[in-house]
Amino acid sequence: MNQDDLANIAVQTKQNDSRYDHVIKVCVAAGCLSANSEQVKTQLESEVKQRGLEGCCKVKGVGCMGLCAAGPLVANEGNEKMFQSVTPADAAAIIDDVVDHKPAPSAIVMDSNLDFFKRQKKIVLENSGEIDPERIEDYIAADGYEALFHVITMLNPAEVIEQITKSGLRGRGGAGFPTGLKWITVAKASGNRKYVICNADEGDPGAFMDRSVLESDPHRVLEGMAIAGYAVGAEKGFIYCRAEYPLAVKRLRVAIREAENIGLLGLNIGDTHFDFKVEVRLGAGAFVCGEETALIASIEGGRGTPRPRPPFPAQQGLWGDPTLINNVETFANIPPIIRRGGEWFASIGTEKSKGTKVFALAGRVKNTGLIEVPMGVTLREIIFKLGGGIPDGRRFKAVQSGGPSGGCVPEQYLDIPVDYDSLASVGSIMGSGGMIVMDDTSCMVDVARFFMDFCMSESCGKCVPCRVGTTQMHNILDRITKGKAGPKDLELLQRLTGMVKAASLCGLGQTAPNPTLTTLRYFMDEYRAHIEEGRCPAGVCHPAKAEAEVSA
């Protein structure tokens, strides 16, 4: 395999595709698959066959198109025509519409000019919903592996890292550490063997960005990892993916096999001396294994618990060797940065947060699904323009970003730009990209209790502040929602939040108090209403009733 072979595959795939006048794309990512999109695809295929259109109309399974709430989604090649909530029975109508221009019933026609689609800027998701994730040829035809070839034939490792540093890319896993700096540290670290790890242990409730990327465009992540391997001097990569993502794991394995078969992974990639092998390792469902040192322990076969840093994995990681750990979305950004240059990437976003960010929009918002927006757009734009606002005429109350490690941002901060530093300034975090919108039917004490419950169950139990602190905080929050708490509980809760944040061993404990801290800061009146008046303003908890039950 050399650069000409790669170009040949791209040309041939494009030629094959251009034989078709019409391409009908059916989403086969997990969201739409669970809504029966596989049958929709089969029905479309047999309909095409029945009408004898095999020569001019192609039905193709593609990755996530984003608007998961309206799935299963079907679209034509240029996305001018989109169909929502499709059932197998709609197959004939869709082919009528796409091929014969007979409009399909309005119930399944979706407006492709929605703000949800038009206001996005796609870099990470550029191939999602466009290519067949199980065909490497599709990825190559979309300029795939071009960046890897450029890197291994034209650049030395330092030049690769220079582009990444120039791009200003920051880690998309949550903490926002500058990616270039991390790569330099690993590249400079001394050691005979080095490793690249892709963190695909996405565990935040309501977040599914990484799953979607892996299911829709797995080769992009592999290419990013191979480039990283070349840049830092590693020959072995691991993808640590949670076992709850069986489809992502399957597609990754297909992708690795296909790439190895044509010499884009493995030994002597592109007829050079560069070797890079990738192995998938499955997580057994522990949230804490998303923490890098716990993840490493898990890959090594040990109990997935974190250890104090320093030493950082960049110096002493997997089996004690220097290890580069980046998140799925971070790796997915690498090929376009190499193809189009660091300056191009740095021209998008804000001064300190470059590029785009993928968010999983969920909760009380009309359009739930996956979006990719440039850094620096406001929360208001995301929720009310792309998200289409709050359904049923309810009133917006708060948006929770960053999952159990993040905070609840109230209405007065809706106009802050979405970037690492602005979100941190209001007590939340960018996190991995979960975004849960809440309206006035949500009780903020109950929300804080929910996230604390999650952290309590997921605490590994190694350090005392996280193990016992999250349990104590959860018990207090639980008592508040049940109307069994007094002012002293609130005082203790505040003492505990500060201590657990400062004294815990790893990020799980250090950020576990964030939902509680922000709700205490912005929604203290709701806490008071529960404790002092025995009343839940949102009507979710029944503090007074519980009290009556106790006294009865």
Partner: protein, 241 residues
């Protein structure tokens, strides 16, 4: 100045004392050499350090994070604060958390008067607890002919796990489950008496800071822990490497 390869002599300030040490030493080691007390609990000299109990957290000037003294290596020019209002509050809360987590009723405990948790609480002035008790009912394993494991007294410091793995080489003990449900288990959660890997050496019992692991036939307050073997054996291990 270079001594061994890659090891430098560093000077630093710990709690207003000017100290010196080798760059491969931890803050805790240098503090102890200089007679400065830093409270510890999961740590036991002779075993590996894991920084889990968070008792030895110290403030290091220029860092906004608290550092566990038992695993943080010293650096030239470091300024370390061991006692501050904040650290005192956190240490008290940590002890309160441990005392509230499982059953630590001292008067009926075999280790009463010889317990690391108890003496540390006394030393740091924790004489009452401001948070509710959690007290789940934990199992007691008396299947071993000579020893008892009472998980109600366990603080999950993993000293037993480490001494068994690092010194005895048997790795009988390890952990199961997460969070407050975490449990120290023998073999693959078999009763201790049926363990095939346990050599019956009893090192785990001697290093246990509380009455969680004890010898049979002891009444309240009678379980004296004998740890004199540990420095010697860990030295042997270093020589053997």
């Amino acid at each position: 100045m270079n001594t061994e390869s890659g090891v430098d002599i560093c000077t630093l300030i710990i709690e207003n004392h000017e100290c010196g040490g080798r760059s491969n030493q931890t803050i805790l080691e240098v503090a102890e050499e200089n007679g400065i007390f830093i409270p510890t609990l999961c740590r036991l000299a002779g075993l590996s350090n894991i920084g889990a109990c968070r008792m030895c957290l110290v403030e290091v000037k220029g860092s906004n994070k608290l550092m566990p003294a038992c695993v943080t290596k010293i650096q030239e020019g470091m300024e370390v604060t061991v006692n501050s209002e904040r650290l005192a509050e956190y240490r008290k809360l940590t002890l309160e958390m441990l005392l509230s987590e499982r059953n630590h009723i001292c008067s009926v405990c075999v280790a009463n008067g010889h317990c690391d948790l108890q003496s540390l609480a006394q030393k740091l002035g924790v004489n009452h607890i401001t948070m509710p008790y959690i007290h789940p009912l934990m199992p007691v394993d008396a299947s071993h002919p000579r020893f008892i494991a009472d998980h109600n007294r366990c603080i999950l410091c993993t000293r037993c796990v480490r001494v068994c793995q690092e010194i005895e080489g048997a790795h009988t003990w390890d952990l199961m489950s997460r969070g407050t449900k975490a449990l120290v288990i023998s073999d693959m959660n078999k009763p201790w008496g049926e363990s095939e890997s346990c050599t019956g050496c009893g090192k785990c019992v001697q290093v246990c800071p509380t009455g969680a692991l004890s010898e049979k036939g002891q009444a309240a307050g009678e379980m004296l822990k004998r740890r004199s073997f540990l420095p010697y054996l860990s030295m042997m291990r270093e020589v053997g490497k």
